[in-house]
Each structure stands twice: as C-alpha cells, then as structure tokens.
Subunit: 347 residues, 2 copies
DNA sequence: CTGTTAGCGCTTTCAT
DNA sequence: ATGAAAGCGCTAACAG
C-alpha cells in the first residue's frame, strides 16, 4: 500500500511522516516549525529538529494556506502596454525595495505586468492567491480609476504607487514621491536663470507621475504671467529615437526654446544629445532638465540637471505599510509622499 | 449559524456556495471553472457562470494546490549581495521576458533577491511553495556551484541563467547568451583596427558573464602572441564613480592603452566619459567597448561600440523551457546559447 | 452529463 | 507539554 518508489526521486515528506518517525504527534511538529517554543520541551524540540533534518522535511505552504486562509504572498501588478514593463529604472527600484522588504518578513512577491485591456482576465483578478496587492498603473486618469476600482472589488488591501487613492476606495493606501515638488524645483531653477520660453517633453503613453510633473511646471510658470510660454512635445514613446524625432520636428517648427523640461532622465538625455549634435550649446543657448537621477543620469555631456528620486524607499515603504495593514487590519496613513531633491548637473 | 456579517466585508464565497446556489454539485462547478466543456452541458455551464458572477466567486488556489500538489508558481532567485539586485538592466530584461512568458500560461513568478550567505535560510529553500525555480547567481565558480547544488536538493526543476549546469545535476537546464562569442567579436574588432595594448575593465564582485567575456578576450588576443598585452582593472563596484576611480589609478600608473574592453555598457560609459573629460580622443587615441546595448547604450559621446544582448529572449526561453519541463517531465535541452551581435558605435 | 466520496497537509480547538 | 479530531477548498476517481 506504500507509494510506488519508482515514480519520483523523493516521495515528499509530510508533517505526519516526521511525527511518526519522531514518535510524537503532528501538532508537536507544527509547534516546532512555527517556533512556538512555549509549547514544546527542549528535548522534544531537538529530537524533532533532528528528524526534520534527517528526512529533509520542508513544510508545504498549501496546507497551511488552506487552513489559515493566508498565502503570505503579495502581488505587484504593473499596468503598462509595453512587454518590457519592468525594464524601467523607476519600476525596478520600487520593485527591489518592495521585494526586499517583503522577503525579510517571509512574504513572497509575485510580479505581473499587464496591459489595461488584459488586466481583468489576469489570474490576479480571477483567483485569490495573494494576501495583498501593489499596483503601479499607467494610462489616463479615467483608466487608472477603473483599474483601482477593479482591484478594490477583490477585497484585498492594496498599495498604489505614484498615484492617489480614489475617495471611494477604503482599503487602500498610496505611496508617492513629491513629483509636484520636483517639477517646481526644476521650473524655479530655470526661471532663476532667466528662462522664459519652455518646452515640456514627454511621451504619448501617460503615467501619473508625468502628469504631476507637468502640472507643477505649469503652475510654477504662472508666476511669470505672460512673460513665460510653455509648449508641449509628446514623443510617440519614451525611446531615444522617438524622443529625438519629436524634438527635431518641434524645433523645426518653433525653434529652440530657453529650456526643455523632460518627463524623465531618459528623455532628458535624448534631448541633450540631440541638441549637442546639432551644435547647440548647453547651458549657454538652451537648458535641459530630467527627472529621477538613477545611475545613468550622469551619462550625458553635459550632465543633466535633475531630481533625485527615492524610488527604492518608496518600494520599502509600500511593503512595510502592507505588512502593517495585514497585521493590524487597517492602513495607518492613506497617502504618503516622500520628498525629492534637486540634483544640479550642468544642463 | 451563518457567519457573522459584521466582521468582514465579504464572507468569502467557496465553490460549495456556488454549487448550492446553482443547484448543482461541487464537481460541476469545478468542471466549469476549469473549462472542461466536455463534462458540462451548455445550459448548466451558463447557469453556473451566472451564479459565479452573481456571487463574485473566485477560486481559492490553496485548495487546488493542496489537492494537486502543484502551485502554478515559479520562483526567480537572484543571488547578489546588492540590495538593488533587480535594478540591473540585464536582470530586468530577463525578468520581463520570464514574467510575461509564465503569466501567459497562468503561472505566477515570485521574485527574490538574496546574498549568498542568506540563501540557505530563505523561505524558497525552506518551504515548497513553487513548482520550479530560476536562478541567476553571482560569485566565484565555487560559490555558484554550491548554490546550484543547494537548489538541486530541493528536487524542483530549475533553469540557470548565464551559467552552465554542473555535470552532477540532473533536473536543470541553462540558458545563456553567447558572451564568449561577443567578447571575441569585440577583441577582433579592435585587433583589426591595430590595437595591441588592451585593458579589461570589470568589477570586484564576480558574475559568470564577466568571466566568460574576459576569457574570450584573452583567447582572441593569444592569436597576436607577444605583440599584444592585456592588463586588468577591477573596480570596487560597477558604479560610475568606482569605475572612474579604478581607471584613473590604472592610467596614472600604466598610461592609456589602445583599448579598454569593459565588462558591460555601464562600465564602458563611465570609462568613455572619464577619458573624454581628461582630453583623450576616442577613437583616435584610445578605444572603448561595452557589452549588452540596453537602451542607455547610446547615451555617451562618442556612442559605445558594444554587443547586443538578447536578454528578454533569454527570459522568455527560460520560462518556456520550464513550462515544457513541467509538462513533459524532462528538459529537452540541457544548455541553450543565444547568439549576440556586434553593435558598432564610434568608440 | 452529473453526483458522491475521499483526502491532499496543515493548524485550531479541546482534551489529557 | 502533548495528543486527537475536525476541517479549510478543491479535484481525481468512480458511480450513476
């Protein structure tokens, strides 16, 4: 009646197997592996641990999950049409912070990228394999709202990165960097240097952070009244060549402004290189700013003036908040905004 | 006897609830949600689907996992001492390919970064929550071997990225890009342009890909015999400033060679910028090459000559192989090497 | 096509 | 300090 020995290398050791071999009950094994030291004598614990090691027992979380209705799993959903969704420096830094933070507490992080269209069919929405969610969503405000509403229906707590929590959603919190503050720092920096004709450069596919940065720039320029102008350039994508094409056709039509304010450093560097190649002098003829200051930020010549992003800290914070929420039953803060810093280059 | 309505927003709908409300047995529900259309009449299916929608039922994978002993989860382990482990362009591209590939097949990807020292305590090794593993490991060959041996003991199939499968390990496969071929392409490119004094620039913390690239360069230079020289510079880390410091002190001692061959593009760009800042002309006085050609590759002036990496495809391939292995019971190929291409810059 | 039974591995509750 | 029983939600196997 034993399992066939031929089929599989290892016949899977269960908690009961350990109990039998150690001559104790299943409960004792459970108490040992969960460090409930108050309930197990030292002698028994040692014997059990030896047996566990000898048999190579590893607990099966499926049994535990079923019993406890908890999976010790958090899912990060990135809503982005690009298949290389995660190959963005910002996303990546958040992810690192989040993953480390959760792993330290013995939570696993599931990673999933999806387009807006496919979100509702994704298994994240169709099954309940996680205790909580994180989301970083692109798209227009209305689409993002719809995303958050869909997630809210799942009845799992979730953290939104880089976007606010809609008023009607209860069990969610948001973690952002001060994109508005950063946009203002850059705009004022340029204003102080006498710039009046500005161009905002971003990409067609919208991200909430871009919206906030642009809005902050607009607002800062209002102080100049009619002395300032702000035009907008929207590249087909954030890719190097797409950005350069967009800038080229803008400049062909409208000439070179006093400053290009760019949605992020990737865009900023593409603009810097295009200008330098065309013989424009930076910062004498024209200035350029970026956003986020990840490691490649100083690759261009001149080095980009930009904003330093606390993305890794955002990830850690989101993770901490989620763990805390799972422990206490509620989010302590609904929105948290981390400060950013101006990082002066020579652009 | 019903559950308290006060406690939780939604009392969790189970398969049995749906069965009762739809007036069918639990099995029928199971058959519907698993698309076993042969076993359910169209009418019944429709009624069940309506009930599922009405109750907002979502299957609990814990029950399924327990019953099937399968989790539909794959874990990617990155062994790297840096907390920003995932913030590397190469890792990130692999991750995107892997995640997309698995998600398409309704597998989830768990992401975990760990140092060599902490690996054995990580919950990946202590519990059995996944069907398969992927690993990308840094460290010296002996450490990496130890990592793979530890994973092999888990008795889950796994895919190794960017490193070979040790001979004694059965149920694993490896997926690599042709780093040796790339190294040779670069070395020969430089040799053809008359370079004879070479410097290899990499970082202290070892990665298998760096080893292979360097070895290939060495080998290519042997064809020149004593006419060629190859020195090695090892930065404290791959960071911009660390690389520049290392190059600075090398040049102070040994002067500027004909060419710097760099472990990756990040290092290459740091070297290019340092040289340009010091007034060296590229490529007239000295040449520089990188490796991988991710988006930031063209940020430096002059643009780096480098190798184009198929990292996203590596990730997809690894995922496909794992799924195939889970389906068929064995890996079809033990090692796969994807080709790379020379990408000419002006450096 | 549909229903019944049994049990996956774990932990809570209650008994000892 | 330790054990026994029950059940979490699901599906394979078989019966009808």
């Amino acid at each position: 009646m034993a399992l066939k020995k031929t089929a599989r290398p290892k016949p899977k050791v269960t908690l009961k197997d350990v109990a039998r071999r150690a001559g104790v009950s299943a409960m004792t094994i459970s108490n040992v592996i969960n460090n409930r030291s108050a309930k197990v004598s030292v002698r028994t614990r040692q014997r059990v641990e030896a047996t566990i090691a000898r048999l190579g027992y590893r607990p099966d979380p499926a049994g535990r999950s079923l019993r406890l209705s908890r999976q010790f799993l958090v899912e990060m959903i990135i809503v982005d049409p690009s298949p290389t969704f995660v190959a963005d420096a910002f996303t990546t830094s958040i992810l690192a912070g989040l993953s480390n933070c959760l792993n330290r507490r013995d939570y696993g992080l599931i990673l999933r990228g999806t387009s807006f269209e496919h979100l509702s069919q994704s298994s994240a929405l169709r099954s309940r394999q996680t205790d909580a969610l994180c989301v970083m969503a692109s798209g227009l405000p209305r689409q993002r709202l719809e995303i958050y509403q869909q997630l809210a229906k799942l009845d799992d707590p979730f953290v939104i990165f880089q976007d606010g929590v809609p008023a009607e959603i209860d069990d969610a919190a948001s973690v952002m960097q001060d994109d508005a503050g950063g946009g203002a720092l850059l705009a004022n920096h340029l204003i102080a240097r006498g710039c009046t004709r500005f161009v905002w450069v971003s990409q067609r596919h919208p991200w909430p952070a871009f919206e906030k940065r642009e809005a902050a720039v607009k607002k800062a320029l209002r102080s100049l009244g009619s002395r300032a102008s702000l035009r907008s350039v929207e590249a087909d994508s954030g890719d190097y060549t797409a950005v350069q094409q967009a800038v080229a056709s803008h400049v062909a039509r409208d000439g070179v402004p006093d400053a290009f304010l760019c949605g992020n450093d990737q865009i900023g560097i593409a603009v810097v290189n295009w200008l330098v190649d065309k013989g424009h002098r930076i910062p004498e003829d024209v200035r350029v700013t970026g956003f986020n200051a990840f490691d490649f930020w100083r690759y261009s010549r001149p080095v980009l003036t930009t904003i330093e992003s606390p993305a890794y800290a955002l990830g850690e914070l989101g993770g901490t908040m989620l763990i805390e929420r799972l422990r206490t039953g509620r989010f302590e803060k609904r929105e948290t905004v981390l400060p950013v810093q101006l990082r002066l280059g020579a652009s």
